[in-house]
Symmetry: D2
Subunit: 300 residues, 4 copies
């Protein structure tokens, strides 16, 4: 299996960088990723020094996928996300949209937690289950070069818990080779990523990439063992929810043979929403496969 060790840290989903590796459809790959703080916080005394590293969420990549062309889709199976140095870090900073209720005089602190035996040692008393995910995974657009801050049709900084081992992330291909990047692994993350900082972790991430030729998707999709979902990002979040559910309906219509208004109806009753980083209005709208793929769903 090919391996991409820690190397140049990129802060953009850019088609302009030299590929770190070239793979064929179906190949698996191990990538080492630095944490969202560019490795500046390894102890509780660690601080973000923006004079040295001005940007956040460094990525490993780009991965060039042979044969990928605009209008195709990448299916990226996340096989494993392992801690690279046995710990993670988080930072409490200004509560931005919450300062109206909490005030702005907050404790700005770093907080490093060991990871062992499947738990994150948040404090001596409180352990959080190790449930890793990738904050960022994305392809490179042909129009505009997203930084590692926003999420969008290319994926990017989605910060949604479903980008986790066992799931397949579908991403649109905009340029030849796709130019896939990933990074910003979290040892765990809550809905909304309230402080905009998860339990940030250098990782060893294993993926398998399959190329779906001639399949064009407007926004990222994720498939878990039990569910299918569409990820949309943007404010206001209500609008993202409307759009993600609409795309899920159109997906049920085109790929599973659902009549549009039946799909609309059942999602009202069994649809589920997962909220990613709330500051950017990122959501995944989903449905259980057992409903969507039921062989007799049309018999109403």
């Amino acid at each position: 299996m090919k391996r991409v060790p820690l190397g140049p840290l990129y802060y953009e989903f850019s088609r302009h960088n030299e590929p770190r590796v070239r793979i064929a459809s179906g190949e698996s790959l191990v990538l080492e990723t630095e944490d969202a703080f560019s490795g500046q916080i390894r102890t509780n005394d660690g601080r973000r020094d923006r004079t040295k590293k001005p940007y956040g969420n460094p990525q490993t990549g780009p991965v060039y996928v042979e044969g990928a062309e605009p209008g195709d889709t990448l299916a990226v199976k996340i096989e494993r996300i392992d801690p690279l140095i046995g710990q993670c870090a988080t930072r409490t900073s200004d509560p931005k949209m919450m300062s109206e209720w909490l005030g702005t005089d907050c404790h700005h602190g770093s907080h490093v937690c060991k990871i062992s035996d499947g738990v994150i040692h948040w404090s001596d008393a409180i352990k959080i289950p190790y449930t890793p995910m990738l904050g960022c995974i994305g392809t490179s657009p042909a129009w505009g070069v997203p930084s590692t801050m926003p999420a969008g049709p290319h994926g990017g900084n989605m910060d949604i818990v479903e980008t986790r081992p066992g799931n397949i992330v579908y991403l649109p291909v905009f340029v030849e080779g796709a130019y896939l990047y990933l990074g910003d692994a979290h040892a765990a993350m809550g809905h909304g990523e309230l402080s905009a900082s998860g339990l940030e972790m250098p990782s060893e991430t294993t993926i398998t990439v399959n190329l779906v030729k001639g399949k064009r998707i407007p926004w990222p999709r994720i498939e878990s063992p039990d569910e299918i979902m569409v990820v949309v990002s943007g404010s206001p979040m209500e609008y993202s929810i409307a759009q993600a559910y609409a795309q899920l309906i159109l997906w049920m219509e085109s790929d599973f043979g659902w009549e549009r208004w039946k799909a609309y109806d059942i999602l009202t009753h069994v649809g589920q929403i997962s909220v990613g980083y709330y500051g950017f209005g990122t959501v995944a709208c989903k449905i259980l496969k057992k409903y969507v793929a039921h062989p007799k769903h049309g018999e109403w």
Copy 2:
């Protein structure tokens, strides 16, 4: 146990209506509720006739709670929600915020489903687990009389799945007697209530009401066996999330002894969000009791 049979249908959380029943703190009560369509849809041919019943979400109540005064809180334990007539109904109508993607020429149809053996018979093939909840539950404000359309600090049309049997809904008291109403039961509901119509059901709902004297809460709270949560409603939803998490932090600070910024930190990693009716930006932000009530949480 006192019982409030189906009677006058009220469409407002109004302090002006005559109480249907008076209870003491600690009493349990059975209330019959009509469905959100005011009972106009009992078959697939049923239609909403707004010339006869112009409004939606009729409520049963008001319940007058002896001794309740402004500045108190009601703790309403939802004991049971049972179908009253063994069926529920839903309606597909215009997809409002989604018409940009789905078009506006949708199928306007009624869809009645039998409920039996713990499942909702959505179609011959597809069954949905019976997981009932109350779309509306609320007290009556002293300033303004909310219709049964919005949600707010008084509760109201929250349309959130956590108003379900086994959970306790905490609501602020604004006027003497509290003037509690409830209704709009759903046999099941997805996150977001996409079409603004759940599986609407006449119900027999059993509650136990306790009065918490001198406890003032700014927004409804819900306690499940495992979680505590704050419900906030308003657009944009990002702002509701910020406010609900902020209120949850302040709750952890005041009632559980958490240092504010530690509460902020842990919610980033383990907080969960449930999305109610997305058109009004209603959300519940929550945390597991095992974290919040951990006896040694302060030892960081």
Copy 3:
């Protein structure tokens, strides 16, 4: 001309209050209004004492309009708004949505300004032209009783500068008699009403009310000597703008004979937006009469 002196202060657009006066269509009327602080701030030492007056924006009314029925429209011409006591007051308080940038430790102060010779004496040095408007004007809904905080289809706390002398405010009638209220006069107000407090002023307001039978409007409309506009309120503001422009297009179509997409086109180039209280997302979208009423607009 009938006169409604200062009397009971109402804080709701309620159909439940006893009419202060009954008028026929075409009548003019003088109403005295208290300021938004219920008169508690008459000097720079004045404070809002919410234990005595918990609510804001007291209204004068209701005015019962003979013959008004649901489905009609009131045309309220604002003839004059005069200061009742020669001064106005404002209050600087927490910057709510702005605390992220400004902090929360703000100066909470009252600021009383004399009004004379057509100017407001904001300071010894700075004078602001006296340009009065009504923060609130509205009819009473049949479903729900709005407090004097929000704006809505009934009008209410629109806080938009176009509710000023010389303009006609069109409001839907929801109940027999219309139950019109007005108050919350400002000696001047900027776009957005940044601090949620204008230059609040007790007023003597003169209006002429005409009843338009059988004309149903979904949101308030305003006609100035040169413009027509639709007022919509709600968050996110983008959505209010979309809805207000859409309603303006439908108005141009129904009343002025415009083809829908031509109306859409010209508004892109000459439409204007006035922003009311920004916290509630209130906007007026407008067009000059010279365009909309041009006799040959159809000749494209």
Copy 4:
């Protein structure tokens, strides 16, 4: 005076493109710009052919400003905007956020208008005053490469009417040389740019660029002969308004000696808002210079 004729059309505010021209601080410059449709619509039969030109809003540039470094500010005086070919074009397309009210079956049409004698010949009957502005003007970020679709701290596709002749647009410098681009001239534009298409026009635009060393601004600012303003873009628009007014207050504090809460107070009464493209929540919040620069403003 240097001149940049029509040449390569760039669709990104990119630091990666070769400068078309290098100027010193204080120099004036004429730039020819193509229209937002990349010149594909010259007649009423013209159509956007996205297979040939997939992107919108081509820019002329980059202009390299000698001596410009990160942390500086460019002051770009717009001297003139003249039509290059005596006409402009607009397109009616899907009403996106408005389809809920207008339907989606709209007339998709191109509409070319002659420009002469200071008016735009929108139809035989209706003439619109020629009031040109630049839809896009921006510098190139160091982190991320914005396409010509969004607006942001770099400026970009602000689509706000105040980028017009006689005004000075202040833009942050992020990279050496600034890499300034401009384009997307409109012969006229309404508030909100309802259809996302103005009266799009190839232009000859004359600017004078001054470099302000060591002055760092967080968002674009504009100075008109009578006003100063801050432009912020983002959804929800309420939040952009809060941020733009907050930045205006901080500007009044730092450069004009205002006490923060006095600035907050006066903006409530005399602040003005101009709405740019509403789909992206772009606004300018402003105040008349006569207030802000009053020599005795501090004597309260």
